[in-house]
Symmetry: C2
Subunit: 139 residues, 2 copies
DNA sequence: CTCAGTGCAAACGATTTGCAGGGCC
DNA sequence: GGCCCTGCAAATCGTTTGCACTGAG
């Protein structure tokens, strides 16, 4: 990790990528981010986006989310926090409940792993999809 | 779901698939399951495995895990419980700590979603990978 | 006879990678 | 000048799907 950061350059592509990711709290996928970044860097390649998201998350500047779902999502907020995913549209939002500090210790006692951390993912139906559901039921 | 079950047949492929999945607690991926099942049904197709894992999880006979990682994993144990994933080798084990019953209510209060449930995934290094690490360090 | 289920192979979507420039240190 | 980084395109990997065929009710 230290090796990595030492040799890594802060290129314009990386700068813009991080700026765009930190602008939002929507935990975009790689291709969503690609679309966002392309408005400022029209010639950037999708491969570059993938490469840099990987590198930036390896050196801790951003976070790759371990959420279920088909596509990986990224988070500019590296403070530990929990998420909720909409079962209908797949969007991911932050959940603002206090972090459960003692969970890791509990887990350590109950298995033979070295515990590194935990993540809680709630699932549900977001307000937008609920609204659409109501409309569907109404008609 | 009821519609589904009504018309679904318990074919030999499905039977064997569920039996093999319930034999283990390793939360195999589709292709791992394919290898397991093929020892008893050598002519089964990978597509059939995918199709049936999907159907069986839709009708609640098995569970599709919402874990991070590249491949989807399946669980023959449908009781709600938490998991831990090894950061090094990717294996997933059960974590035997009590379910946090009040989490969903907490989440409901703090966002506008309809909460359906939650899942906790720990991450760590499994005993096997720790051992390999020690050997590496030793030599 | 119908219709769900199958094996097979092709298609697909997300991600990764090889390569030939291009530019910073 | 070396080495990291990029754009581009092709390759890869997991998963899904179209199709023709089989088999149980």
């Amino acid at each position: 990790v230290e090796e990595l950061e030492k040799r890594m350059r802060l290129t314009n592509q990386r700068q813009v990528l991080m700026e765009e990711l930190r602008k939002v709290t929507t935990h975009p996928t790689a291709s969503e981010l690609y679309d966002m970044v392309r408005q400022r860097l029209p010639r950037i390649a999708l491969g570059t986006v993938y490469r840099n998201l990987e590198l930036l998350s390896e050196c801790g500047s951003i976070k790759k989310l371990e959420t279920g779902g088909e596509q990986k999502r990224f988070d500019g907020n590296t403070d530990p926090h929990y998420h909720i995913r909409c079962n209908t549209c797949g969007r991911v939002d932050d959940i603002h409940i206090p972090r459960l500090e003692d969970l890791d210790a509990q887990a350590a006692d109950s298995c033979s792993y070295t515990i590194l951390g935990h993540h809680i993912e709630f699932s549900g139906i977001c307000a937008d999809c609920n609204a659409v559901g109501s409309i569907r039921r109404f008609f």
